[in-house]
Subunit: 336 residues, 6 copies
Amino acid sequence: MKKVVTFGEIMLRLSTPGYAKFIQADNFNITYGGGEANVGISLAQFGIPAEHVTRFPDNDLGKAATSLLRKYGVQTANILYGGDRLGIYFLETGAIARPSKVVYDRANSAFAQLEPGMLNWEEILKEAQWLHWTGITPAISDGAAKSCLEAITVANKLGLTVSADTNYRKNLWQYGKTAREVMPEMVAGCDIIVCSKGDAADMFGIEPKKGEGSGFVSVCKQLMNRFPKVKKIVNTKRESISASHNTLTGVMWNGAEYLKTPMHQISPIVDRIGGGDAFMAGLIYGLLTYNDDQQALDFAVAASALKHAVEGDANLVTAEEVIPVMKGDSSGRLVR
Amino acid sequence: MKKVVTFGEIMLRLSTPGYAKFIQADNFNITYGGGEANVGISLAQFGIPAEHVTRFPDNDLGKAATSLLRKYGVQTANILYGGDRLGIYFLETGAIARPSKVVYDRANSAFAQLEPGMLNWEEILKEAQWLHWTGITPAISDGAAKSCLEAITVANKLGLTVSADTNYRKNLWQYGKTAREVMPEMVAGCDIIVCSKGDAADMFGIEPKKGEGSGFVSVCKQLMNRFPKVKKIVNTKRESISASHNTLTGVMWNGAEYLKTPMHQISPIVDRIGGGDAFMAGLIYGLLTYNDDQQALDFAVAASALKHAVEGDANLVTAEEVIPVMKGDSSGRLVR
Amino acid sequence: MKKVVTFGEIMLRLSTPGYAKFIQADNFNITYGGGEANVGISLAQFGIPAEHVTRFPDNDLGKAATSLLRKYGVQTANILYGGDRLGIYFLETGAIARPSKVVYDRANSAFAQLEPGMLNWEEILKEAQWLHWTGITPAISDGAAKSCLEAITVANKLGLTVSADTNYRKNLWQYGKTAREVMPEMVAGCDIIVCSKGDAADMFGIEPKKGEGSGFVSVCKQLMNRFPKVKKIVNTKRESISASHNTLTGVMWNGAEYLKTPMHQISPIVDRIGGGDAFMAGLIYGLLTYNDDQQALDFAVAASALKHAVEGDANLVTAEEVIPVMKGDSSGRLVR
Amino acid sequence: MKKVVTFGEIMLRLSTPGYAKFIQADNFNITYGGGEANVGISLAQFGIPAEHVTRFPDNDLGKAATSLLRKYGVQTANILYGGDRLGIYFLETGAIARPSKVVYDRANSAFAQLEPGMLNWEEILKEAQWLHWTGITPAISDGAAKSCLEAITVANKLGLTVSADTNYRKNLWQYGKTAREVMPEMVAGCDIIVCSKGDAADMFGIEPKKGEGSGFVSVCKQLMNRFPKVKKIVNTKRESISASHNTLTGVMWNGAEYLKTPMHQISPIVDRIGGGDAFMAGLIYGLLTYNDDQQALDFAVAASALKHAVEGDANLVTAEEVIPVMKGDSSGRLVR
Amino acid sequence: MKKVVTFGEIMLRLSTPGYAKFIQADNFNITYGGGEANVGISLAQFGIPAEHVTRFPDNDLGKAATSLLRKYGVQTANILYGGDRLGIYFLETGAIARPSKVVYDRANSAFAQLEPGMLNWEEILKEAQWLHWTGITPAISDGAAKSCLEAITVANKLGLTVSADTNYRKNLWQYGKTAREVMPEMVAGCDIIVCSKGDAADMFGIEPKKGEGSGFVSVCKQLMNRFPKVKKIVNTKRESISASHNTLTGVMWNGAEYLKTPMHQISPIVDRIGGGDAFMAGLIYGLLTYNDDQQALDFAVAASALKHAVEGDANLVTAEEVIPVMKGDSSGRLVR
Amino acid sequence: MKKVVTFGEIMLRLSTPGYAKFIQADNFNITYGGGEANVGISLAQFGIPAEHVTRFPDNDLGKAATSLLRKYGVQTANILYGGDRLGIYFLETGAIARPSKVVYDRANSAFAQLEPGMLNWEEILKEAQWLHWTGITPAISDGAAKSCLEAITVANKLGLTVSADTNYRKNLWQYGKTAREVMPEMVAGCDIIVCSKGDAADMFGIEPKKGEGSGFVSVCKQLMNRFPKVKKIVNTKRESISASHNTLTGVMWNGAEYLKTPMHQISPIVDRIGGGDAFMAGLIYGLLTYNDDQQALDFAVAASALKHAVEGDANLVTAEEVIPVMKGDSSGRLVR
């Protein structure tokens, strides 16, 4: 099978042990994660060849981040080394009514310092079938945005499927351009997007119209009008009962039908980070595996639900572990 | 803002890791805590100047206990050093139907060996606005009881607000006097008390009368009759569904109204110790901040609920973290 | 009181910390466990003299396994040392919809290499009142099966009570004989058995008959017809809502009555392994202590429920800890 | 072989991890130790039946301390339960020029509250060949001293070998009697003692005389004159180059010869506590095994040297591990 | 006693556990350190009132760093909050021939973003007797350099003693000025400096002259000629036998005499970071305590030697712990 | 550069933390190692493309072992999955005179169950320049021996350099053939071997002859006579002063010269396992990099010395870290 290429920043994640608050912690657990790399790692566990493209500083931390990708079976041949530093995020895990808390320290990262032309996308994508990116990358820096657009352009030229999680993070857009200026051209090159009503409003100025079905469907129709290459728009609805208990449902508009999954009860949450990335990886796997949007969506939500029981950013479950949950068995009975 | 002074014993808390039973444990997590110091630490996180007064042995453990207070921003200038030992309590954390278990080893502590006159309360309280004590202190030893009465007397003279958590612990009263003999004179000097119906019966022989509203209100009316300085009596109602799941509601009688908070669902509990102290700290903060008993009570219960998600004896959340929960948002959504 | 003798294999249990998946783990928590030894350890915590008989390799791991039994007060005087290796099982603890997962590496263990005649059962059982075994032992090897039958035969001769947990594990029966060939002669020597409808079908070909009460009762009647020495047949019904939340109910047919316990809610599960062994130990304790099958059964299920809050294979709670839960108090209130 | 009985206090040992100072530590490693119990544990590893007699509080810590003895194969049938608390000592491990540091919290322990007559020494010692005690026990309390004298008296009556480590700790003698008052009657019942020149001076007022060989020999001669039952006096000479590097040599006067061992280089020290107890256990093993004082002494010093490479209070090496070192091979070559 | 004020950057220190290389580490130990703050913390352990002045980002990491200072008794009232981030350094601890390795990630820190005028030095220094700074501060940024010069100027005006560790780090000087341009004006305001021959050459262009005693003395004479306020110049000579074994000797030129300490053997090293800062703190304590340069120097080197046995950046030993080592007793004998 | 292929068994290594003895340990540190894979991992750190060929069971442990190789940059495309189990070795780390201790549990491993023909060596080796194996592989099983001979034969055909570490382990040869029967044919296909005098005697019956230089040289000459393809024979001389202090020297006979390296002092040892494999990897790197046997040998011994400061089986240092040590700088000075 041809590989899926993911592109985006990876940060050093430093999380306090257990439920310790930052002020209490005497050590940090280390992992490395990023929205797009999390997708790549999850795909590799599902048996899909995956490669991640990013830029790391040329030091021991950059090497350690690469080694994590390799450990989980993600190809790393096209990672660039250079620039000033590795972005970091600090995580304090909440419980009950206490939220988890993230402190970012990602400015001036090697990835943010990417410049157009640094990556040879023709070469990188020539053996690939799929390119995945997220709205975080164009938010980081002008260079990152332009590199990402290069990738999408080449992917389109080579006929790859392109997916994106629009993922609007208001705080990130600091380099002088807005999402509304940058994102449309990029989304125009996509086949499949994850996009919430909020993102549609914030990034594209699209609001639900009355009389066009549910608000989500209305938004999807408008998005597809504007971006005719886009064939499927998906989203997850997360209800947050507490920091320890969420529910999750997936929805899709595929241009013809509005599909919805059963609601998953997720309690008690082990690690909430990367739930959306696990959904995306599940969706890519599902679409590549099942000739059926509903099954693909069911797989994606089941994968995302399972992620909440996995420590770290990335979903490390196999497809064999997802399938029973996708089919409705959430009983978690001991496997011998 | 003038400081709040808390007075009471601090013990070395040694807890088994995770859910290990004592017989399984190969190491103990270390913290230092005590009902009154827990209030001081929580107030310091809320930005209220706080000082704790106690007595520690003049050894490395006493110094380490002091350093914990300082770490969390509590003033320690009037701590005495001397006496034989630091009291200890051992904690095994339960789950489901297995209760948490405390083994005390607190006899003959430096604090229990306090003698009247050792502490210069005029000096200690001269810059303060509030004195807080609990019913544990007079239970420990005659010297501790007398020192506490000295403090209350001076506080009354200097016009400080005085609060107490009556907190009757039958097992503690071992030095020859009973709570009924000792407590009334001390409570008489208080403005605000936390007192359950059980404590009122055990310590003051007060039982609810028929036809005086709910039992709690009836008890409060009698308490206020007997102790006319007391203006507000508060309590929490804890329902223990299991060691992992409690609910919590706060109530107050302020002489005019019976106030009640919404019920908080607390599951799964991270650390139940110090829930009452977190409530008291929340109440002090609330009363100092809001000109409204209901808001103060809501803040107090929200703070206490959040404490159950914090490891250790003391509530380390900030006021910013309490406010959404106090306003009804217990969703625990990730904060970036 | 005379001792209870348990006989069976003990494995090195290596579990990943927290909820780490195998691929994530950098260390394993160590304990030693086996279905029958878990019963012995639990009985020792209840104050019942218990001895475990097994075979370990004559190396540091065998010694460490023995030391665990001794630590928990189980007698070890008749353990044999010899053979090739200690069986191992690897455990990854699940949560939510992610199941816990066991990887066995138990072939060619010192225990599997047991031969008839190696153990002097006349000597071992002469001071005992009870022998307990499970269906795992005869599944491991022909030698283990024959050793177990020797034990049952001697126990019957000496007038001991004999109990068994039939515990059919299809994957284990690899040495050329089937459970249907081996088990009947062994169960024929038992007074009390734990046996599910599934085990009755798989091991003895017994299916519920219509018109004989509930399926379980029908099966029990047929079992007692076939094995007239058997006086009580018990079982637990476990509902698995998720890997973190189970419910548990106990049932018994004592030849006259169908007894059932209240349902226990078990959430969030700390360690699910050994729940059945804790039930068995509770049943033995209950039958030895109460002159009442219902109380014995209530104690057994309460003990099993509590086991889910204890780390490791064996139930380390005391009878004093079980009694309130058995009586319906699952509130888990802090014990000072 | 008949058992060796050791008698003395066991404390909870709480040590900071690694080289953390008390003020830095967030957790303590747990073990349980005491000079005499350490001897018993070491003997059990050498294959000598050993029983320890002591008194623990009747709580979870007392049970955990007992479980440690059982784990290491020491018999515990005559341990008493009662009294107020378990003594504790806190340990900070030094390195280089920074000394290890012990903070004691042992007053009012269950053991110190022992009273004469509580222990049935006739029963305890009837199956024993050897009784071992140290000078710490009579230093703790009058009751402990009297209990110990009872034990010695019965041991003498039953013909056991009696050994003692005189071990003068000035700070301990707080209950109103002095070592010079108490110790002579007790040492008079001994066959073998460990006694330094310092102890001889402090406890018995014996100083080396000129012209009687080395100071140690002169002191030994006087001791044997005064205590004619004593047949062997041994000691270790420790040179402390740094907290990480010591040397150790053993010496003995057996009434006829002055024996000395080679000097052992001990670097880098893992855990220095219990080095003397390991020596004593080695000596008992050596005297019971070899018909040769020099070999016994060589074994004892080799055992003590090895203890410095073992974490915790007690020496967990086997005789097989001591023998090469005793024979001069300290190369520590990997054993496969 | 009046306080000593230290001024400089504090970084988050993240070190791999044990001897793990970066690529192996799954967690980092957390502490916070900086050359000047390390001096302040050490002085606080010696009982000298100390305050540290710095700038932290206004986030949880900045608060945690402040809490560490408070924990160790350092005053923090004049710390500024603002700016982008907390500087970080990553540490991998070496052994034998493998060096420890530091990866810096300190650019754009809140401290580097200091601007002149932000700190009110008149206010900060009015109750102080001593100001200490190092050559790292002026290397970080122009704003930091100017802030430091402000501090020196005010200190000179108020008559404080001013000390500096010149500490030339070539890699740091990145903002467009060189040490030779910036340092002279700052050193001109100092009374006491730590300065190696290398630093004198690199920063001031001063080389030893023939016939002026040892090279160090010659350099000192020239430095004092150029900076007449400087009265004492000190340095340590470190011989690095391996990453685990160093030796250390202190030297001083006080304008009249060349003083030298005995050589300290330091093996095996626990944590080498902060050895120079411990020396400086020892020197300040020594000069404030002893009316004798040799004693002050001896204390300083003994303190530095002991630091190598303490985990973390800062020297946590007390003066009582230094004194025996200063007097020549490096035996590290157990302290009970 | 073309890759180096290593072939051999990898075991799960479970080591007790710190210096804990097996009986003390509550957890094991996990890594995966084997003599040949250790060479591959080290080469990958040096920047040499490396691939390891082995057979793992098709379960989570096999996957985890593969992930470790990938993490460290070793190619894994030709690993086979199947067979019964992963071999395990248990390690207890010694210190001072206490040796480290290994308990093997490797029988019936997936690797031991290899059969000739399972591996397509033509395919595996076609892009390689070097094949490395050790004498452990032919000792494990007949199938492993034959697979290894297949590899050597193909390597010879394709013109690869072949190296071997003869590594005679008497205990391993259990399957019915002796080293003397099996090894000669395999060594005959080698260009470079590591072989001690002991191995030469045990495996080939070759003893030093008088008058042929040092014993090693005499043995080498005879070996080269018998195996004319062999061009270089190397060895290390390890002196074991204690478990914590070894010295190491490398020697080579290249057919013309007897080369020797300086002696490296190695103290205090962090992890002694894999020292020989690190030497071998260093030698391969050295020979591929330097056109000089002495430099290659110097690099190899320096690499091996450094390995003793690295935790785990494999040497994780880079060539940049080896070079200073190879050039004589063992000072271990901090690298910033």
